[in-house]
Symmetry: C2
Subunit: 207 residues, 2 copies
């Protein structure tokens, strides 16, 4: 049955389990795809152009931004990162589902451009303590760096109400099941199942 793909957008403060959930979902469902971003930063050792990123220079980035070829973009440590629009449009039209692990600002930009295609999910930590523990234990950063990370988490959380679904990640197994159910349900949305119109016409013609 022909259908339009789901653009599954996943956001959360760092430390709430979003990346773990995204990896599990991608492993469990090989048909799910991720977008390859474009960036103006230099390739790091081992990174392959076209697999990890599309490496482009600043003037090419500006041109693409100006001509509406980027779904969303952000500046991080002086470098630009963006999601190219064309491969996403092509995947959705072909019925391929895509997963976006992205912050609230990127989610907002994508929502403006592809609203009807999106199923957006916000992952919340069960408690502030649980989040802080993960932010602290992750590496040996200074108290100042941890404090900055906690403040960033609070900013991200403040945007929870812009999302279609919310999962409170108290238990990773339950949260994974919830995320998989959301993707399964979104695939069944009538508006996405473009093949239903000819299918039902055929069904009624056979009566």
């Amino acid at each position: 049955m022909a259908r339009r793909g789901v653009l599954l957008v996943l956001s959360s403060p760092s430390g709430a389990g979003k990346t773990t959930l995204a990896k599990r979902l991608l492993a469990a469902d090989p048909s799910l795809r991720v977008s390859v971003s474009v960036t103006t930063r230099q390739p790091r050792p081992g990174e392959i152009d076209g697999r990890d990123y599309h490496f482009i220079d600043a003037s090419e980035f500006e041109r693409r931004e100006r001509e509406g070829e980027l779904l969303e973009w952000a500046r991080v440590h002086g470098n630009h990162y963006a999601t190219p629009r064309e491969p996403v449009e092509r995947a959705l039209a072909a019925g391929e589902d895509m997963l976006f692990d992205i912050d609230w600002q990127g989610a907002r930009q994508i929502r403006e451009k592809l609203g009807a295609d999106i199923a957006s999910v916000f992952i919340l930590p069960p408690t502030a303590k649980a989040l802080e523990r993960r932010l602290v234990s992750r590496n040996q950063d200074s108290a100042e760096v941890v404090a900055r990370r906690v403040a960033a988490a609070a900013t991200e959380i403040a945007h929870w109400s812009e999302y279609d679904y919310v999962i409170v990640n108290s238990d990773i197994e339950a949260s994974f099941a919830s995320l998989a159910a959301i993707l399964a349900a979104e695939r069944l949305k009538r508006a996405r199942q473009t093949g239903l119109t000819p299918f039902v016409a055929g069904l009624l013609a056979d009566f």
Copy 2:
């Protein structure tokens, strides 16, 4: 976490597997409730008032309809059947999910009254042949009765596009998994999770 209940509406032509799916979902999830209808018809042997139906007379039915106490109603073989509004409102407010096995006309009436609470699912047969086979084999009715049933099925199918989700029931196990995923996802909708606002406020206050 406090939340508003899901009103899961299930429609399909008879013979497409809707009742089997509804029974399995109710058995798998004891928290899911069904509405007890009111009817003006006489109780049959073994039927218990308040469990199978609320048996009321025609003037009481008219009064309830006039005063907006009925979510939807239909006339079948000269008798009236309806869903009382108050128990449904009470269940949804208490976070209890309800299953409605109902035709497109009932679904439309409920949608007008409780639109935001509803997740509506239409079950389609995989082929016209599969449906006809089930309509014919079900009992020893005359060709005329079967023809009437097939015509009714075609009318019902014509309303498939009024629903949020569509399941083509080629395989009962897969369809059951799809239905369960829809219910699980609908429970996670941000708009239903009324407890999230105080929860997030507490989370941010603890930072």
